[in-house]
Symmetry: C2
Subunit: 529 residues, 2 copies
Amino acid sequence: MSGGRQPRYALFLWTCCLAAAEGGKLLVVPHDGSHWLSMHGVLQEMHQRGHEIVVVAPAVTLHIKEGAFYNLTRYPVPFQQKDLESHFRRMNHEVFEKLPFWKNFFKTRERLKTAAALLLSVCSHLVHNQELMTELGDEHFDAVFTDPFLPCGPIVAKYLSLPAVYFLHGLPCGLDFAATQGPCPPSYVPRGFSLNTDRMTFLQRVKNMLITLVQVFLCDFVYSPYVRLASDILKTEVTLMELLSYGSIWLLRSDFVKEYPRPIMPNMIFIGGINCAYTKPLSQEFEGYVNASGEHGIVVFSLGSMVSEIPMAKAMEIADALGTIPQTVLWRYTGKPPSNLAKNTKLVKWLPQNDLLGHPKTRAFITHAGSHGIYEGLCNGVPMVLMPLFGDQMDNAKRMESRGAGVTLNVLEMTSADLSKALKTVINDKSYKENIMRLSALHKDRPISPLDLAVFWVEFVMRNKGAPHLRPAAHDLNWFQYHSLDVIAFLLAIVLTVVFIAVKSYMFCCQKCFGKKGKAKKAPKSKSH
Amino acid sequence: MSGGRQPRYALFLWTCCLAAAEGGKLLVVPHDGSHWLSMHGVLQEMHQRGHEIVVVAPAVTLHIKEGAFYNLTRYPVPFQQKDLESHFRRMNHEVFEKLPFWKNFFKTRERLKTAAALLLSVCSHLVHNQELMTELGDEHFDAVFTDPFLPCGPIVAKYLSLPAVYFLHGLPCGLDFAATQGPCPPSYVPRGFSLNTDRMTFLQRVKNMLITLVQVFLCDFVYSPYVRLASDILKTEVTLMELLSYGSIWLLRSDFVKEYPRPIMPNMIFIGGINCAYTKPLSQEFEGYVNASGEHGIVVFSLGSMVSEIPMAKAMEIADALGTIPQTVLWRYTGKPPSNLAKNTKLVKWLPQNDLLGHPKTRAFITHAGSHGIYEGLCNGVPMVLMPLFGDQMDNAKRMESRGAGVTLNVLEMTSADLSKALKTVINDKSYKENIMRLSALHKDRPISPLDLAVFWVEFVMRNKGAPHLRPAAHDLNWFQYHSLDVIAFLLAIVLTVVFIAVKSYMFCCQKCFGKKGKAKKAPKSKSH
């Protein structure tokens, strides 16, 4: 927005930021999986700006690997690469099992419990690794950059007394609202897993309220072990809120083109779409596929970095549907190829998703509705067929569907015909393309790119040793003080006392006045008897 | 923050913004006084970016004048320049009258009523000027840019069906929170005129709650006439909330270095400090004063654009105090010079406040704590002696004082010695300079300058015809729906019904079981008799 002239004010700022950008030291405590992949861009930019970056990760990981722009410090964990991979393969297959609601609920809970236990042990092996922790302390970092989805990073930051920057899409069970002191009225802010939009019927509001009432207990089994771990390591009793609210700045991979507008807090910085920041030209292989697709163009199909194969019966159903459209489908799939695969469908072990979505010949995107995929579809303006599998994916899908930018399918219930119909709808019904293009334009119409914004705030925390001026005083109140219950009780007590005294006085006066008269009347009466 | 490399994402954005910056048309409905002066910078920048700007203003104004970068359209009002000036002169003198609390309260109310009636008549003469309104309608503006402090601009915007961008410091009586649907817990968000900070004692929280309960009625006399005017002009019943919530984007001249952190809404954009954006070199006259001040430097003294003279007794008291410090004092004062004026004090009819505050020889700033002055002191890192007079100035002063960046004086109660002591304190006690420099650095440490940010969002609303994706669904709920009272009542009714049925069933069972036994026992008894 600078035009030709640079206001003096901006020059002030610039001097300050450039000065601080020299030689900072950042400690990164990442999460494996797509969470790590989207952090990548920020670290690369930080490195280019002259900061030294140290990433601590367990010895066994899925996606965290050596990188040119950071030093990777590994610590031992009590499992092997094959254990981790088989764990996730098993999880992937279980996701596709069709079970009755309650059975599914408990099975999901069990699955999450197993995963949580595994990840907790990873964290425990980091914070109990005395040698490594001492080494990290000696490095004198400026800040910790972490995803607090599981609060291992916050424990490390608190232990090392370093300010922390959080990088996340959101926390489950409303923990992000609670930890930032962000009000979250259940009347128009849809709760996770509710499938509500921001405009709800009465019964949807009832559902939203019921989820609000129980959500605090739903995540307890995942988070309470971290509280115990933190209390143990920090040698003082801490609460989950103390742990999560430790972050100075919350970089939220979120944007109000996807999310519904709601109250936010000053230390929340919205950087949704940061993962679309960089695109590269397509490789020869993919350029070849796209060019060969002719006038019909291509459809990109991926179920995310965690799910690369699915049960054969489902794969065959999907393959059948993909054969019914004239577009070339590029499907990221590592399993055994379905026997009914049509000629238009190319299976690839990996695909440059964002680059392909950015190609003008891309007509649709079949996605599991993970937050990264949603924002890549949004940035590039590609209508979506949404097949959510777990976590926040159902809600992500609902948001895109409610805005007319995609069609949601239940991957367990859908038939081949449903998928075929959905694909033809988003490709041929012009309203889907128009809606996603409108959303895409709004999403990209920002005063500063999300990557630059994220880098600015990481450096802000590094140079200012946190951001205490953005921390609301609400953190120092307990729940009844926060809701002014003590004040209300006090004022009510005064009102009631005044009313009580007034009534008593009135009655006393009445008694005095009328009582005397009564007596006066009675007296003569008795006398007259 | 861009470094050497420009991410592709930012290029996307840039193309979009530059394209839209061509030839937009902006209608400006300003407020006279300092509110207008701070809008100036945005209009200048908008003009430089190729937009056509039309400012509508009454024929009689204090500060709104012809400008090179906008077309000024005047409309007739039923008073003369001398009436307006004498009105404000009278107001200025009344501010310095020392009265008992209640007398002062009612006198202030009366004064505000007179001012409000005058300004309402200005608005009425605009919106009832059928010829002008038709002309404005025919111009096909892209948006209205207005200060909604008195909601004349919103009426014009609604009448012309144009999106509106608001530019303001805040609204009184919590109307800004109410109109944006921003939650505002009285437990830690201090209310206007409370003089509380964000950390309150129990009794301060009681005071805050009491103000919360009554504030809605306090402003009614100012705003309800606008609601009647709007309903009349728009030919439909509107509420104050509908009128104020019409703004797509709220550009708030506010910043969390001055304000306490609190919940905000996605369409609030914080551009505090925008008025410090441009500085010019000092004129020869002022350069001369500064150079002649020697090692002691200067003190800048201004009570704002509205108060340029004060009663003689008070002026003499102040002049006396100013003579006790070694600094040269530049005092903006248009009244008769006090006879005891010391040699170090120079009276000037006008002073380039921001440029003087930016001079390294400036040691202190005596200010009435208007929002503009506060931010200019903050940007330039100058400790302040705060002499609040009316409106939000007491609260502004409290915020600076609570952060150790200034000393507040009650201008009516203070003696010459108090002012002298306060000046010596902020100049000689290093903590004041250190605190204001720390705040100043934080205030200027932003990813984008407030002026660029403001211009971006005005253009955003122009090119996107508003910002409906940032409007919370809460606007469509009534108050009991918003607070989920209907849902709570429904759930309570279910719980009570279930409890009632359970208790009844239990009692019925008991009666059946024990009742029979009882009867069974009784029966033989009766038989035995």
